[in-house]
């Protein structure tokens, strides 16, 4: 397995990059980050719409979320492969298509995560800022969203892990990310499918496991901040502060 890795590490890392298009792990990560960044505003909009005081906005958002939850991501990818050229008029590449599909998909899932954070805030926050004379939008932008978005940082990181895993579907429509690289290595070697695919699984495992570990750390930090212990910096200081109080 290691000899495959040492022979083909460049192909796995960046695809045919200097000569051809970017590929491999680099493309997987670029696609994932682009999908997360583009899905974020959509998700915030969906979350705000899901908690909106206006009934039909709430209903429209919940239809969107239910529909996306109800169909496989692969189907969304096929739809955007077909619909995107009709809308934009140009044939976009497989990677762009998948990023768009992931934005639609994550708009719903990340939106639900953010909505859960909005629901988890005590209603006193909204009531207090409304009674101080702030409008609905000022309340949202200045009071509710800053707290809710901070609190759901860990679940956003977990969604990012899901995005990284989901970009592997891009291989099916011919995007040259890391699954595609592994496939072409397998086609060249022919005799070692287990080593190649298990190595691919290992690559994903390292990426996703470390990301979810980071998510755990962020979660602990967020929880500490929420319980008001971050005011005293550092672990030992905070235990001292707790002991003395």
């Amino acid at each position: 397995m290691l000899d495959i890795l040492s022979d083909y590490w460049l192909l796995l890392l960046v695809g045919q990059f200097p000569q051809g298009p970017l590929g491999g792990i680099a493309l997987t990560l670029v696609m994932s980050i682009a999908a997360l960044l583009l899905a974020f505003p959509v998700a915030v909009a969906v979350a705000v719409a899901r908690t909106s005081p206006i009934v039909w906005i709430r209903r429209a958002a919940s239809i969107y979320v239910t529909a996306v939850r109800g169909i496989p991501l692969l189907l969304i990818i096929f739809w955007s492969f077909f619909v995107l050229p009709l809308v934009t008029g140009i044939n976009s590449s497989a990677s762009v298509t998948v990023v768009c599909a992931l934005v639609v998909y994550e708009g719903a899932y990340l939106g639900e995560a953010i909505r859960a954070a909005l629901d988890a805030l005590p209603t006193g926050q909204t009531e207090a800022s409304r009674s101080l004379g702030m409008s609905y939008w000022t309340t949202m932008m200045k009071v509710i969203l800053p707290q809710a978005l901070f609190n759901c940082l860990p679940s956003m990181m977990n969604q990012f892990v899901l995005i990284v895993k989901n970009t592997s579907l891009a291989y099916i429509i011919g995007s040259q990310e890391v699954t595609f690289s592994a496939h072409s290595i397998n086609a060249q070697l022919l005799t070692k499918p287990f080593e190649v695919y298990f190595m691919l699984a290992g690559i994903y495992f390292v990426m996703c496991y470390s990301l979810s570990r980071i998510a755990k750390l962020v979660e602990r930090r967020v929880e500490r901040k929420r319980s008001g212990q971050l005011a005293v910096q550092g672990g030992r200081n905070s235990t001292l502060a707790r002991a003395s109080s």
């Binding site: 077909f82 895993k165 099916i172 994903y204």
Partner: protein, 229 residues
């Protein structure tokens, strides 16, 4: 996107094609969910007994959580037959198709998630329940079986239904190894007739009908679970 392209759906051949695809998808879904729930139950027993078996199951769960399902399917379909000794390998090549390996990969993946859901369901049952059952003279196994597990399953039911939903959607990945399920059929039809809109609209509607049914069952169970609490 003309309406005439929808005439393709009136042809009996096309209808048969979609029915066969739906049949394969449902067989794949039902077979792998039966295996997944059974295996998930076994895994959670190992997870909660002994340090070594618990660590092994934890590693199994982490592998399935952090590797994309499609890569797991590839490992099983392309990779694992190579590890088998020669005669067994020729037997698998002739007797076991992509369908079998799709079932194996999908049910192992779902079993990992199901075992975690069951475990958190068991942890959510208060320890007083087990203690009271033991104090009344039930053995550990009997107390688990009669008192803790029924409550745990009731609590975890919405999450367990959600896993079925995920599994139904994950069956679409089997197209990557050539199982002719719903998505495979849709792509085939699109390639042959260029009637793109109807070929993808049909599976969309079919998936939505199936998943909305599951979501409805899930929300009913959620309501029932909330009521008993």
């Amino acid at each position: 996107m003309s309406l005439e392209s929808f005439q393709v759906l009136a042809e009996p051949d096309v209808q048969r094609l979609f029915l066969r695809g739906l049949g394969t998808t449902l067989t794949l879904f039902i077979t792998s969910s039966v295996c997944a729930y059974a295996l998930g139950g076994v895994l959670v027993v190992f997870r909660m007994s002994g340090r070594l078996s618990s660590a092994l199951v934890a590693a199994f769960v982490e592998y399935h959580r952090n590797v994309p399902s499609i890569v797991q399917i590839f490992v099983w379909y392309f990779g694992v037959p190579q590890l088998l000794p020669g005669p067994v390998q020729t037997w698998t090549n002739t007797h076991l198709g992509p369908f079998f390996f799709a079932v194996v990969a999908l049910s192992l993946n779902a079993a990992a998630y199901i075992s975690e859901d069951l475990r958190s369901g068991i942890r959510a049952v208060s320890t007083g329940q087990l203690e009271a059952a033991r104090a009344l003279g039930l053995g550990y196994i009997k107390a688990m079986r009669l008192v803790v597990v029924p409550q745990a399953i009731r609590g975890a039911a919405p999450a367990l239904i959600n896993q079925a939903l995920g599994l139904l959607k994950a069956t679409s990945l089997a197209l990557a190894i050539g199982v002719n399920e719903l998505m495979y059929v849709a792509r085939q039809l699109d390639g042959e007739t260029y009637a793109t809109f109807p070929s993808y609209l049909t599976p969309t509607v079919i998936y939505l009908v199936c998943t909305l049914t599951l979501m409805f069952i899930g929300s009913r169970l959620q309501r029932a679970a909330n009521k008993t609490r």
